[in-house]
Symmetry: C2
Subunit: 316 residues, 2 copies
């Protein structure tokens, strides 16, 4: 069969990254332009168009199946309408799919970052062999996406998979969203780092402090993980606890959907294997017996290019 081509656009607050991808997941051409988020929607759309034109030249006359765009903000689908993306100036409601398809006369799909990253892993990454999985972005916050029968499951209004705001303690920590005990309030990067700084006060000899040269601002889960792997007990305790708590939420989702596989991406996913083992143990003790066989917690594979791959994956 002839290779299909598609264009993936990763719209960020700073940079528009665009790639021309083939159906094997090879990037044939790439473009990076400033978003111009401080200007206005028309300027941002101009940059998207320009970046698409740049990579389109490398198609050498081969058919391009369409354009996928991963965008921040709330996305209304069908329609590809982007509402109030944070960090883009004066952007209230923009029918982004329409604006782009007017220029290029081809199919355009738009979805949010988390769903796009889930699609990327499903088509080209850690989820390739799993038709059903929960995808989690473990970063500053906790985002997510659900792949069901090889397709992204969006729910009634495109909000499905918002698993970071599932409560794991009805009387627990207050989350920014107003809910008590959201898993994000326990294990999101910001919260995890903050609680680590607290604990370091009574553990001044921890290797975590050594690794960041005493600079508390630098503390992040990846440093904590390095300290744990170098034998630091506090660091180990902090991340095993985080993995355990994340596993409580994942177990609940597995029980609901009767799924087995979770793929974890985002900045914090770079932590050591011992954290994945803690998550796995916790999920096992939080799912029904018949679901325990085959529970898998796997790392995302696509890293920084997930945005481009997933966006292209929506139309390939």
């Amino acid at each position: 069969m002839l290779q299909q081509l598609a264009i993936g656009v990763d719209l960020g607050g700073t940079t528009v990254k665009t790639g021309l991808i083939d159906s094997d997941g090879k990037i044939l051409a790439q473009s990076k332009l400033p978003t111009l988020a401080e200007e206005n929607p028309q300027a941002v759309i101009g940059q998207i168009v320009k970046s698409i034109q740049e990579v389109l030249q490398h198609a050498n006359g081969r058919t391009v199946a369409g354009i996928g765009i991963g965008s921040p903000g709330l996305i209304q689908n069908p329609g590809g309408i982007v509402k109030s993306p944070p960090n883009i100036n004066n952007w209230d409601v923009v029918p982004l799919a329409d604006e782009i398809s007017k220029v290029f006369k081809m199919r355009v799909e738009v979805d949010n970052d988390a769903n796009v990253a889930a699609i990327a892993e499903a088509k080209f990454g850690a989820g390739k062999d799993h038709p059903n999985f929960l995808f989690i972005i473990w970063g500053t916050g906790i985002g997510g996406g659900i792949i069901m029968n090889n397709q992204i499951y969006r729910g009634l209004s495109g909000g499905a998979g918002e698993v970071g705001h599932i409560s794991i303690n009805y009387d627990g920590l207050l989350c920014n969203c107003g809910t008590k005990g959201c898993v994000e309030a326990y294990v999101g990067q910001k919260h995890l780092s903050k609680r680590t700084i607290e604990k370091l006060k009574s553990n001044p000899k921890s290797k975590i402090l050594e690794l960041v040269g005493g600079d508390l601002e630098k503390i992040s889960p990846v440093y904590i993980s390095k300290a744990a792997e170098a034998g630091d007990a506090l660091a180990n305790e902090i991340l095993v606890e985080a993995g355990t708590l994340l596993g409580v939420m994942i177990g609940g989702v597995m029980n609901t959907l009767d799924f087995r596989v979770t793929v974890i991406g985002g900045g914090v996913s770079a932590v050591g294997d011992f954290v994945y083992q803690a998550i796995h143990r916790s999920v096992l003790s939080n799912v029904q017996k018949p679901l325990r066989d085959g529970i898998k917690i796997v790392r995302a594979q696509l890293g920084n290019d997930a945005g481009i791959f997933g966006a292209a994956g929506m139309v390939i």
Copy 2:
């Protein structure tokens, strides 16, 4: 259009209830036979066959679309294989759908009680106008089913919707299933009654005691609800708390699936409206902002006949 007919079988530990239903949800004929659960699978299958024959006589030559069976135990689908139903003697693994279709030469579908009740509400009850909803059986334990795009969603192994064993407190009460903090361990009828008895020790003047004539064995959520509606503060507190805790779990499921509607059936669902209001408030404070519009908590409508209706609904 000509009315479709279907047969629904509700296989219980004591009674086999079977009905001939039309597609408007009218019961044209009904049969009730003892299950003979204390004998063996062949005896039980014999009773099922007999009850089907009884109602089939009333079809008066009209075409019957098929036979649906709601069964306890683990159901393997496709295949309609029933594994280890509690309360039926010597029943290890029985290919129930095959056994029944051999006799009647028509389509036979088998599913578990909770899924069958969810299908009943979707086709004939409180979920008729809702293509997507979470169904909860609030009884001794907490069971559930998921209706997605007007169909039952079964997951990878028929276990989807087991929402009673979602943890709402990672460090909470130990559930029979071995998980900490399952919502069932807080609000399942048995647990709720037990905790009420505890609290009555320091509240000997509660109207709850009056209503059950001092017989602690009689305490049930429906009596507690009656006491609350008669102005009893303790009873009100117990059920508002139960509704709030149930709402935490429901909120998590709504966040995951991007659903709006929950239908509640089972013995405890007969409690007063104030409990539904408590559940509603709790769900609102546990779902993401964009999901709050349209959140609905509704009572199931089919009561004791849900089993027959849902079973027939699988083939209608």
